[in-house]
């Protein structure tokens, strides 16, 4: 019996929700505050409109797919076999690089919040191995994991956010004036960054879902919910720490968790909460590795989809998957030997490349495809 790796859009949205929590907590609070100061809590709602436009674009692009096609297959169709394979190669490189960065920043979070004086390669390599094993299996397993951990992770996040609301100082959040509009728009780029990366990544696995209407509605509601969640996250963090301190903290959310005392008895729960973020990390890295190997296998002339192969079956180009895992893990060890250089990658390079990919690269493929009438 042939294995069919498929799932529905609801499960896909669950995966989006869980993986967006990685950049939403790592990048967004500090980055938005560095631009917008005390008005940073308004940047996520402000970013909703541009994200909505991006969703409309993504919908128009993905509406042109045929049954079983994802964004990778659309690249080939839009650009032709040669340019398409180059685009896929570049995409795979970006995903491997981004995966390496995710491994490194996840390890850094562990070191900063739970295991001081530890070495990051241990965490990077462990997560790299787990991600590689997951990428060698079905995407369906990933979305099921997302569906299962989503209520736990969101439940804990909401508990933290509600508890932290009681210690918010409004002097840290107001006043916001018309002079802040430009700063809010600049800070909104951080929110756009967080949301667009998830939106284009899931397009690579959308080929595993049946063609169905209502993409704009599903993604818009999801983006609205996540924008509001990010708004509350910044509101809580800035309201507790002040914009000045938030901008200088590397993990403000986990510093907030460290300060929280539940019912005057339970405190120092940051290890428990921090550990939960293993799941979003794992899903994000697995998805990136899956997308990378999918692109490379298409370049090599194989189908990138999982068809029920055993874990150690390396036929049909599956030998690429462990190599992808290895490449990302090596990248994670090499890219930022210390926290200062990681800050540069985290705050400058990665967001810039990501925005370039989301807002220039993907639309460029679409425009070429439309011009060539292949889309």
């Amino acid at each position: 019996m042939k294995f069919k790796d498929s799932f529905d859009r609801g499960q896909l949205i669950a995966l989006c929700t869980v993986i967006v929590l990685v950049p939403a907590l790592r990048l967004f609070p500090s980055a938005a505050t560095q631009f917008a100061g005390r008005a940073a809590w308004l940047t996520a709602p402000a970013a909703f409109l541009p994200v909505l436009l991006y969703i409309l674009f993504i919908d128009d692009l993905m509406e042109r797919r045929m049954e079983g096609e994802g964004l990778a297959e659309l690249y080939i169709r839009a650009l032709g076999p040669v340019a398409g394979k180059i685009a896929l190669g570049l995409s795979a490189l970006w995903f491997l690089f981004y995966g390496g960065f995710m491994l490194r920043s996840g390890a850094d979070r562990f070191i900063t919040t739970i295991y001081p004086n530890s070495s990051s390669p241990f965490f990077s390599v462990t997560m790299g191995i787990l991600g590689t094993v997951a990428a060698m299996g079905a995407v369906r397993s990933l979305v099921r994991v997302a569906k299962m951990v989503q209520p736990v992770v969101l439940g804990v996040l909401l508990l933290v956010l509600v508890t932290a609301l009681f210690s918010v100082d409004m002097r840290n959040l107001l006043p916001v004036t018309k002079h802040d509009i430009l700063a809010i728009a600049e800070g909104g780029l951080a929110a756009i960054n967080v949301l667009t990366v998830v939106l284009y990544l899931v397009c690579f696995i959308e080929g595993l879902t049946p063609k169905k209407n209502g993409r704009v509605r599903s993604y818009s509601l999801w983006a609205l919910g996540i924008s509001l969640l990010m708004c509350v996250i910044s509101f809580d963090i800035i309201g507790n720490f002040s914009p000045e301190l938030t901008a200088s903290l590397t993990q403000p959310f986990f510093s907030l968790v460290r300060n929280i005392v539940f019912f005057r008895t339970l405190e120092r729960v940051e290890a428990l909460v921090g550990t939960l973020w293993v799941f979003p990390d794992f899903l994000m890295i697995s998805l990136l590795l899956y997308c990378a190997q999918h692109c490379i296998r298409l370049v090599l002339g194989h189908s990138g989809q999982y068809q029920g192969e055993k874990l150690l079956d390396l036929r049909r180009g599956r030998w690429v998957i462990p190599l992808c895992g290895l490449a990302s893990t090596v990248a994670s060890v090499l890219i930022a030997p210390n926290a200062q250089s990681l800050e540069f990658w985290s705050a400058k390079l990665i967001p810039l490349v990501n925005l370039g990919y989301a807002l220039l690269f993907v639309p460029a493929v679409y425009l070429v495809g439309r011009a060539r009438k292949t889309l």
């Binding site: 002097r171 006043p175 000045e244 301190l245 510093s255």
Partner: protein
């Protein structure tokens, strides 16, 4: 194969989750940890002097106290660990940080940076300054045989939360105020002999009886070594005595307990404070101020400049005590008392505002209030509100109320 692999994974998980210290390197035996609850920071020639104190032990023995100087906080703590009898210092439950006066005068940015950077300490940890003393003195000497500085500071914190004459601001509060206003407040404490009966502790003995465990024998612990014979000494306690004002990153002034009531009213953190006034017969009357609030309103000139600050204060008090009985049946007696209350409150608020103007230190966050009122006009002021303080006109009006005479039915009441 799948079954074998699953079994292997389960065995690995059992080994790693069972707490076997040989496999799980982060494993720590609870009994071996010394849980530190109070950290004292002093200025020292080498750099910094660190004092650490645990909480009182469940068996009634006194808390462990440790001290060491070092070139930095981290090196001092490492030195303490090396030269004490403790296996591991657990700093994650540190609940109070005490700064010596000299350390605060020499700049506290480094210490605040340590608190924020440390993975062990919380950023909302309350700070205290030892007025006229050192943190070492507070940490090593406060307390008796069964209580130490940690328990005393817990009591201080509960006390200041209830009363309006101080507040234990946290490290993150101070950092925010220093960044935004250029100055901030820290709860000031004073070490003085305990008046509690039996509040003595034994000194000069083996050291273990006093619970003092000094990594580098501190001169103030009495452990100078004469001590074959134990001597009884009045135990020290710590009490809140208002605030220390930090400007830039240095301690520049103190606000005493009386003035601190004014700070509480201006910051709208009013607790229960006592104010002693005199009635029209010069009899002392103790008023218990238990409610109060302030509204600070900037008055803008037509050209957009800040004309003055209008501070309206409401204060309500109960009569706690009247020496010699009240005269509530007499006309205007209550009005006179109310006027006395208003005067007393006005004096306290004025003195705090005056201090802020004299120091050019906006530790009350007045700039923030002005900005909240009209952000556009505030921007036009140029941003540095502290420099405007000396020339700023401030109008203070107080509306007092005597609410209750408690359980004595005075004539008019």
């Amino acid at each position: 194969m799948k079954r074998g692999l699953s079994l292997l994974i389960i065995i690995c998980m059992l080994l790693s989750l069972s707490g076997c210290s040989g496999i799980y390197s982060n494993f720590r035996e609870l009994e071996r940890l010394l849980v530190i609850q109070t950290m004292g920071i002093d200025y020292a020639e080498e750099g910094v002097g660190i004092s650490l104190a645990s909480g009182a032990k469940s068996d009634g023995s006194s808390p462990v106290r440790l001290f060491s100087p070092g070139v930095s906080v981290t090196s001092a703590i490492a030195h303490i660990l090396s030269y004490s009898q403790e296996q591991e210092l657990f700093l994650s439950h540190t609940s109070h940080v005490v700064l010596g006066e000299e350390a605060a005068k020499n700049g506290i940015n480094g210490y605040l940076s340590y608190i924020c950077r440390s993975p062990n300490l919380r950023t909302d940890i309350p700070l205290y300054i030892v007025k006229g003393g050192t943190a070492q003195e507070a940490v090593m000497q406060v307390g008796d045989g069964s209580k130490g500085i940690s328990e005393v500071l817990e009591a201080v914190r509960a006390n200041v939360d209830e009363r309006g004459d101080s507040k234990a601001f946290s490290a993150s509060d101070l950092l925010r105020d220093l960044e935004r206003n250029g100055s901030g407040l820290v709860c000031a404490i004073e070490c003085s002999p305990s008046i509690q009966e039996g509040g003595t502790k034994q000194e000069g003995g083996s050291g273990s009886s006093s619970g003092t465990d000094s990594a580098e024998s501190p001169d103030s612990t009495g452990g100078s070594g004469s001590g074959e014979e134990k001597q009884e000494k009045q135990a020290l306690t710590a009490a809140a005595v208002g605030y220390g004002v930090i400007r830039g990153d240095r301690l520049c002034a103190y606000i005493d307990k009386e003035q601190a009531i004014g700070v509480g009213l201006l910051l709208n953190i009013v607790g229960i404070s006592d104010i002693v006034v005199k009635d029209r017969y010069a009899t002392p009357v103790t008023l218990e101020l238990d409610q109060g609030s302030s509204v600070i309103k900037p008055v803008w000139a037509e050209d957009g400049s800040l004309e003055m600050l209008d501070i309206q204060i409401k204060a309500a008090a109960n009569i706690a005590e009247i020496g010699g009985g009240g005269h509530f049946g007499e006309p205007d007696y209550e009005d006179y008392l109310t006027a006395q209350l208003e005067t007393a409150v006005s004096e306290r608020v004025s003195s705090v505002i005056q201090l802020s103007k004299t120091l050019q230190a906006d530790f009350l966050g007045l700039g923030n209030i002005v900005e909240m009122d009209d952000a556009e006009k505030y921007r036009a002021l140029g941003g540095d509100f502290s420099s405007l303080l000396p020339g700023l006109t401030v109008r203070i009006s107080v509306s007092g109320q005597i609410k209750h005479t408690n359980d004595i039915r005075d004539e008019k009441a």
